[in-house]
Symmetry: C3
Subunit: 342 residues, 3 copies
């Protein structure tokens, strides 16, 4: 399925191997020695490929798949067509992810430095790092082992980056300490001075932004996303957090561990998110708020108050989701009633 | 009008020539030999320039214009001041566009390669291409004729781009097949891996993103816009579609032909837009939806359900526009009534 | 407090010096000779540092601060703990900004041109400018004195930039005239052709964009923000205006002096903002509107009509803020009543 111009496939793997590496259970133990050559979607899979069923919307597609094998929840396995082996797992998408990583392993960076890269002599760069064309690395920068710094990226004085980082092209990083396994996508801007100035009728007065950006291990920052450095305190992003494209994170924001921040979300200054918070696309959070652990901020929600742990909110200004849906439905009923009354 | 430091004007053209090239009708056939030296707005035009009236908001400006000639709808031509020749056309803005292209033709790229560009020896680059300073072109890349690849743009292994493309500076393109006449604006990021991972309490597991981005002919992608590659299926953008700045297009999205996607719109994964769909600024579309042909998504609308062909929607969650406006008005009336009752 | 890897601190300064440079009044004149070595937040400050209290939310923190001195409003000074000297000022954040600038002065650019910069021989560059790695400067560009043009930035033919500008890395500037003291952050795209085309069933027809971007003195443009050039008239940004990250400014927009445009705002074509307008994050403004002086556009507001001077609006479509809050409250009451009626 994957275009050979862009992807190199490993394998084949037997279903037994895939069951073992993913922690799945084979619906037919006799199929353990059967092998598959690739992953595929349910629609496109043929008998030598393995797919997955995660979203119930695709249950009908599942019933007609030609896939040789499918990762699926135990309770949905009975819908498989004959000829398709089920690998049951409570989280089939996770099992698929592990299998796909086996078929398409990430290439390790080779030790290379483009002659056009400008690397300050005081910078310390680890083993087996690829430094591409035009990269600029400033004074006292420290970069770990097995990192890839892609073309035209600018890393300013004093920045530290851990091991196994993949920093995309045309990225800016300044005033930041970044953990290991970072994946920073193209065009991201991390650590510019925040939007800080004192209001004054005679013109705004810039407030020196004296904090940093501190990013934990295994964090992803999307393309063209901007993360401002702290004004005094640091801007912090916790371990394992995933940030999508075109997100704005203002100064002094603190984001906990394993949060998911979907594209075009904006988080205003000094707002703190606890762990496992999720924000939908285009959500906006005002400044100086606290968002509790595991809270779910809906797409386009406008957050003007603290959100308790575990709460799901929607609307602008946001309300608990049930309350929002009730109000939304009520307004529709009132308008329909008024239309009928005429 | 146009600043000579930035624009070089061609011409002059006679009104007869302009009528012919645009398919307009001269209100005064005797004026065919009159010539104009430039295009201009109605406010700024003098007697040797040609303007246009498209938006009725400017009808009053039209009545007082000093323009020598104006493209205008037949039914509005009677409002022209004496001394202004009308070139009537049912789509005056289109006629103006064609005339302006004649006055300001785009310069063809010259055959040149900056010595600082890094072009893999396996890449195939067509005739008369300009490859600017610092460009990086990977293995097996194919680029058509008469393309301009601007400074510091990075084009990864295997990418194909058709003829007559203009790729702005600081752009990233990977895992993509792009048609002819593409105009990709500065800072756009096309084909990065999508936001794909399996949720897991022990940390998110990256799902290899094995699809591509397929872009048809004559597509425009705005500045700092991000288009993620498919997760398995491709992300697709149909012929003639126009995408504005700072738009997010997630993995597996399919956009039809001649769609218009206004700035800061976000389209979530696996949502499909048929042809001629328009989205207003900051519209947000949830994932796995179908938007029918010719649908109009209003600015800031939040789309949580399929939208039928031809429907115009507004609000978040979005409703058919008349229904939305009715509810919006009703709430205003109720609040006013309550205020009066006090 | 500030990380020595990233920031170099000046000082120490006596409280007398700080009172004088900021126009503050010492609560205890005898403390004028006491000196402090740094600025700090109220939480983190120790006895040799000076903080500020601006937001009443932090009044309790103020009562327990260990700061040696604090900028504070006269009416709040009585809350200071013993041992903390107050420097009273009606705008403590402004006083803090001036003090912080004294502790952390911006380094002047040194006269240097990276050998990899490509500067057209017709370009005129002032004294004491730093031109970094990979910068591209086109024909007839004029750049003032003491400017810093950071790595990989592309400045197209004819652009003019005043004195003391700081242009970040990976920026694009074309068709623009920019005043002095500009601060353009990484990845900003200024002056690309606007989103202009004539609708036509046979495909869209590009309308040449013949205007410029005119930016006044002392303007800040955020990271990855996009400012399109005019279609015929210019796009204009007035003196002293502050624009945050990921903002979209379309063609022909005119923004007055001392406006504040918060992150992810989008302003559609030909809309005019008078002076001192503020927009909250993710605000969206339709095209061809007029926003009066000092108007406040709330976060996520959707502006579909003109806004009078001084008005504060919220909601999408936006309403005067009191009206919006009344309607929002009323809908909540109706839903609660209906819930109780059941």
């Amino acid at each position: 399925m994957a275009d050979k111009r862009f992807f190199k496939v490993a394998g084949p793997f037997t279903l037994g191997q895939l069951a073992e590496m993913t922690g799945s259970v084979l619906s037919d133990p006799a199929a353990a020695s059967k092998s598959v050559v690739d992953v595929a979607t349910l629609q496109e899979a043929s008998s030598e490929k393995i797919g997955f069923l995660d979203n119930r919307k695709y249950a009908d597609v599942f019933r007609h798949t030609k896939a040789g094998a499918v990762f699926v929840k135990p309770e949905l396995a009975s819908g498989a067509p004959s000829g398709t082996v089920c690998l049951t797992h409570k989280n089939p998408y996770k099992a698929y992810a592990i299998a796909a990583q086996a078929f398409y392993p990430v290439e390790a960076p080779r030790d290379s430095r483009a002659p056009t890269a400008v690397i300050d002599s005081s910078a310390i760069i680890g083993k087996d790092c690829t430094i591409e064309h035009g990269v600029v690395i400033g004074r006292d920068v420290k970069i770990g082992n097995r990192c890839r710094i892609q073309a035209h990226t600018v890393i300013r004085d004093g920045v530290e980056i851990g091991d196994d980082a993949d920093i995309g092209p045309n990225v800016y990083i300044g005033h930041s300490i970044i953990g290991s396994k970072a994946r920073i996508h193209p065009g991201a801007v991390i650590g510019r001075q925040g939007f800080g100035f004192a209001l004054d009728p005679a013109g705004y007065i810039a407030v020196p932004q004296l904090g940093r950006v501190i990013i934990g291990d295994d964090v992803e920052v999307g393309a063209n996303t901007t993360v401002d450095r702290g004004a005094g305190p640091d801007t912090e992003i916790g371990q394992g957090t995933r940030i999508d494209n075109l997100v704005q994170i203002a100064h002094n924001v603190k984001i906990g561990k394993y949060c998911v921040i979907v594209a075009q979300t904006g988080i205003s200054g000094s707002t703190h998110l606890a762990d496992y918070v999720m924000t939908g696309g285009q959500a906006g959070l005002a400044g100086h708020l606290h968002i509790g652990q595991g809270a779910k901020i809906g797409a386009q929600a406008g957050i003007m108050r603290d959100v308790p742990a575990g709460e799901e909110v929607l609307g602008s200004p946001a309300l608990p989701i049930k309350q929002f849906m009730r109000q939304f439905a009520l307004l529709g009923q009132l308008a329909a009633k008024k239309g009928n009354d005429k």
